[in-house]
Amino acid sequence: MNTMTYLFAANAVIWIVLALFLLRLHARERKLGDEIGRLRRLIDKT
């Protein structure tokens, strides 16, 4: 493997890790938001 491959691999890893972290945050944010909305409606109804 030449040096470019290594450079590419390293950068790929950095951005994949960061993207995964952000995606996970985003997914959880959305799930929680939905859940909260559902509960709010439930509470308003009663």
Binding site: M1, T3, Y6, L7, A10, V17, L18, E29, L32, L39
Partner: protein
């Protein structure tokens, strides 16, 4: 802070972060001169070191928040501590993966037990342990307090780990930063990467803390609904 200014601030932060990242990428991958012995490979260094420093910053934040929690017992400090530990582990993961990728072509091995590598690994383990402790404590108040104690122990331990491991032979290119031996032409890239990663840290911390606040809101509503 009310919600609107908060989200506006987030948007601004997002914009600045985007610009900083682009600038850092350009400076590190294109603009910085090619290193004499390692060639383009050395360009990994900018992100590798920036991630390491950002990770250490996160652990510093964790320590400060842990101390604040023990002193004040306010939930928000516990939230900050948790978020900082998680983000720090993510940054350290970047360091630990890019390190071997750099080491393989330069030192011909993926891993050497050099002090810096070993300390980074131990540091990562310490904070994974921190997250484990949190995970197995149910009561929120006890969890916050015990985690804060462990956070303090972990951070005080870090320099001791570092010095203990340092007696061993060091082949890491370490004096580069301390002696200012880094070439002036490489400095813009280095500082840009560092600034970008620190900004990224701030951004991630804010996002992560907002998430934790949502979680608590959900818990509160859940109790209300019952």
């Amino acid at each position: 802070m009310n919600e609107r200014t908060s989200s506006r601030l987030d948007l601004a932060l997002w914009g600045i972060l985007g610009i900083a990242m682009m600038a850092a990428l350009y400076l590190a991958l294109v603009d910085a001169p090619r290193e004499r012995t390692m060639g383009d490979l050395q360009r990994i260094f900018y992100f590798h070191v920036a991630a390491a420093i950002a990770g250490l910053t996160a652990f510093g934040v964790n320590f400060a928040a842990s101390v604040a929690y023990v002193a004040r017992r306010e939930r928000k400090w516990d939230r900050v501590a948790l978020c900082a530990a998680e983000t720090g582990v993510a940054f350290l993961a970047i360091v630990l993966v890019t390190g071997p990728i750099w080491a393989k072509p330069v030192w011909m091995v993926w891993w050497t037990w050099s002090p810096r590598l070993t300390s980074s690994l131990v540091l990562c383990l310490l904070y994974v342990a921190y997250l484990l402790v949190r995970r197995y404590l149910e009561d929120p108040d006890r969890r916050a307090m015990i985690a804060a104690v462990f956070g303090i122990v972990a951070f005080v331990d870090a320099p001791l780990v570092w010095f203990s491991i340092r007696w061993w032979r060091d082949i890491h290119p370490s004096p580069m930063l301390e002696s200012g031996g880094i070439d002036p032409a490489m400095r813009p890239a280095f500082w840009a990467c560092l600034a970008a990663f620190e900004l990224l840290l701030v951004y991630l911390l804010r996002r992560r803390c907002a998430l934790e606040a949502l979680e608590e809101e959900l818990e509160r509503l859940g109790r209300l609904a019952e």
